[in-house]
C-alpha cells in the first residue's frame, strides 16, 4: 500500500480534509453578492434614521425593496454560517464540542433567517 488515501478520495482529488473547495467558493460568491447589497443596505438604513415605523413599513411593502432586504439577509446569514464554521474549526478541537458548536451556530442562524424572512413577507402583505 503506497498511500493512505481511499480510492474514493483519490478519485475526488481530496486528501484528509474530506472536502474540496466548495466552502471556499461559496464564501467568495456570497461575498461578491454582498458588495452591492451592503451598500444598498447602508444607504437604506441611513435613509430611515430617526423615522417612525411608518417609513420602513411602507418602504418594504414595495416588492423590490422587500426582495433586496430578503437577499441581503439571506446572503449575510449564509456568509456568516460559512465564516463562523471556520472560526469554530480553528479554535474548537474536541470532536464532540466541535459538532455541537457547529450545529448550534447553524441552528441559531437558520432561526434568525426564518424570523427575518417571515417578518419581511409579513410587512409586504400587510
Amino acid at each position: 500500500m503506497s498511500t493512505a488515501q481511499t480510492p474514493l478520495h483519490k478519485v475526488q482529488g481530496m486528501g484528509s480534509s474530506h472536502s474540496g473547495t466548495g466552502h471556499f467558493w461559496r464564501e467568495r460568491i456570497t461575498a461578491l453578492a454582498l458588495i452591492p447589497l451592503s451598500l444598498w443596505f447602508l444607504f437604506t438604513m441611513l435613509g430611515m434614521a430617526g423615522a417612525s415605523v411608518v417609513t420602513p413599513a411602507q418602504f418594504f411593502q414595495h416588492p423590490w425593496n422587500g426582495a433586496l432586504m430578503a437577499a441581503f439577509v439571506s446572503f449575510s446569514l449564509y456568509h456568516a454560517a460559512l465564516g463562523l464554521q471556520v472560526v469554530i474549526e480553528d479554535y474548537v478541537h474536541t470532536a464532540g464540542t466541535k459538532i455541537f458548536s457547529l450545529l448550534a451556530i447553524r441552528g441559531a442562524l437558520l432561526a434568525c433567517w426564518i424570523v427575518s424572512i417571515f417578518a419581511i413577507l409579513r410587512i409586504t402583505v400587510s
Binding site: V53, L84, V87, L109, C112
Partner: protein, 141 residues
Amino acid sequence: MADNPQRPQATARPLSPHMTIYRWPVTMMTSITHRFTGVGLTVGAVILAWWLVCVSNGIDGGYGTFMAVASTPVGELILFGVTWSLVFHFLNGIRHLAWDLGFGFDKKLAERNSVIIFALSVIGALAVFATAWTGHGGYLK
C-alpha cells in the same frame, strides 16, 4: 505508563515566537479584525431580525421599544460598532477578493493598504453617524 527511556531530551530547544511576544505587524491586525468584525456582524444580523419583526408588527408593535433601546448610550455604541464592523469587513473583504485573484501581496503594499483600510473604516462609520446626527439621514421619510 513508564517513561520512554529512548525519548530524546527535550530541553533548551529554541521555540518559535508566540503571538503574545510577537511585534504585531499591521497585516496581522487586519486579519484578526476581519474575523472579529465578522463575528460582530453576526450579532448585527440578530439585531436586524429584531428590527424587522418590530416593523412587521406595525404601530405599537415594539418599534418604539427598539428605538428607545437603540438611542441609549449603550445602544448607540453597539450600533456604531456594528456600522464600523460592516464598513471594515466590506473594505477588507474586497481586499480578500483581490488577494484571491493574486493582487496586493507585496509586503509594503499590503502594510500600506492595511493602514488605509483601518483609517477608511473609522472615517466611514463616523461619516454614517455624522450624517444621521446632523439630520441629513432619514431621506426616505
